[in-house]
Symmetry: C2
Subunit: 322 residues, 2 copies
């Protein structure tokens, strides 16, 4: 029996629905769009969090609910669009305790407040697995939407921050290593209390010098490949943005810090390309902006040149059914 | 340990989010709304189908996917709004076969075609339970939206059709009674291939004589109670709209046909109230329209007067965690 991976499942569905009708955005991008007029599109995104596969040990119910919203908001952030409203569908295993529902409501409310969007409705169901599906709705002028397809040769590849914390934190939580959790609080926090780069994403989109953007929820390597593929270009990295504490943790635990930073996932930074002379000005407004490489004409995928060595960055990342 | 019912879960969440901010519609109604202008609102609805609790034996994967869309479209139908676009979040138990995904895509595509809406994106996840969460997005002039709150004393209570088929069909499928399935194909079909009353709902909303509306997905009795409660009125029924074959099936199996028609659920008719002199004209355009009672001033809940006897209709229906 042929068993499918997540990408294969997505490909079958995408082929079925992207084919038959014109879809202005979506399937191949972070969000979907419904044109209202030439200047105003409804932007929609749904992101499902599943208890059995997306929640490591040690997370509270409130944190889980908040994170479900963060995942949806992060896709809006990548396109520079503020979500106005959220709809939340819940699947809850029976029996359901009052405290569980209160904690879910608190986490959802906390995230809605952080990102200034309203929770306006939803649906509640009984299921064998905890499911929190968050749909976000926003509005955007299509001209300001930063797609995955806009990268051009000569442009700068940058990220809104450093990588590897969630991958390292996940190892600490999964192995229940309390000493490491105390020693590296930022790694555990990156898993339990992630942040979406919404404020940064909106600044980047309005700057008009950002040519493409994606969030890194499937990992840095995969996100770079997605931009390279969608924009039909190659990406050449001169540095991998590894967080200091990830490097320390990796050294201590004899892990590859490159592996943690490139192939982790569940990370909500933005990966963008910037017009050649736009970086310095933008860096003043988004201080965490980190230059990591350059866009090349040849679509060779994603390479890195580190300490004189050329490395092929694999198209690999967080994947269900892997 | 206090264990919550679905209504109690919804109440906790609704109290948390309906309280703090003005919500123009939603929580207490079939759909939620985001005002764009005084004449144009974005209408959103999410409805989650869960394999372990919502799918009886005997349904094909294609039918299940189609039904997930029907459930969301039915809420739009109740408000007289056409959904423009659908987003579908999938949770699939591993391993996933190619045929499963193809059948899911077929069912989603079939429903999208039936109700003329586009599937524009979604999300795929691994989970322990089959989950199909369908978000619909539409647009409406708020003046044409038929709320649950508009029923007035003296108005006619009506439905778009007869009841009890899904409740009877579910018994046939659950008990795997092949003889009954062959003898009562319409009952089984009502479960496996339900239809949303979208065309009817749009006609009813445009007529301007329909004062309140709800879909009957939680059962006829519960829907009537919802209208009575939201509109602060009482409802007095002079007939229960039982489908003929449901009456025959009930008699044969010594079941209560009233029970099947009133407390079943998973039924996608519309339950509406109509201004006193509007029924006859509307009946010409929606032939399935069935007059079942009258709106009363006193908020006594829902009563029925049948064959000289007064019956109190209970506020009971399909409920998760029941």
């Amino acid at each position: 029996m042929k068993v499918l991976t997540e990408r294969e499942i997505i490909r079958i569905i995408t082929n079925r629905f992207a084919r038959e009708r014109s879809v202005p955005l979506g399937f191949g991008d972070d969000v979907s769009a419904i044109p209202l007029s030439s200047k105003n599109w409804i932007i929609v995104k749904t992101d499902m969090l599943v208890g059995s596969t997306d929640v490591p040990p040690g997370m509270t119910t409130q944190e889980v609910a908040r994170k479900a919203v963060v995942a949806t908001v992060s896709d809006f952030a990548a396109k520079g669009v503020r979500p106005i409203a959220l709809m939340v569908s819940l699947g809850l295993p029976a029996p359901v305790k009052k405290k569980t529902v209160q904690d879910l409501a608190r986490g959802l409310g906390q995230a809605a407040q952080e990102y200034r969007c309203k929770l306006i409705g939803g649906d509640t169901n009984q299921s064998n697995d905890l499911v929190i599906d968050v749909a976000g709705v926003g509005l955007a002028d299509p001209k300001t939407l930063v797609r995955r397809t806009g990268a051009h040769p000569g442009e700068i590849v940058a990220t809104t921050g450093l990588f590897g914390r969630p991958a390292a934190g996940l190892r600490i939580l999964t192995a229940n290593r309390k000493q490491d959790a105390a020693k590296y609080p930022s790694l555990v926090k990156a898993v339990r209390q992630p942040k979406a780069r919404l404020a940064e994403g909106i600044i980047l989109a309005r700057s008009r010098v950002v040519s493409s953007s994606i969030d890194s929820s499937d990992g840095l390597a995969f996100s770079l490949h997605q931009i390279a593929e969608a924009s039909k270009v190659g990406i050449d990295l001169h540095m991998i943005p590894i967080a200091d504490e990830v490097a320390r943790f990796a050294k201590e635990r004899r892990l590859s810090s490159l592996e943690l930073a490139l192939y982790g996932g569940e990370e909500y930074e933005l990966v963008i390309t910037i017009k050649p002379n736009g970086f310095d000005e933008l860096k003043k407004r988004v201080p965490s902006l980190t230059e990591i490489g350059i866009v090349e004409k040849e679509s060779f995928g994603v390479l890195a040149h580190l300490e004189g060595k050329q490395i092929q960055i694999k198209e690999r990342g967080w994947e269900h059914f892997a």
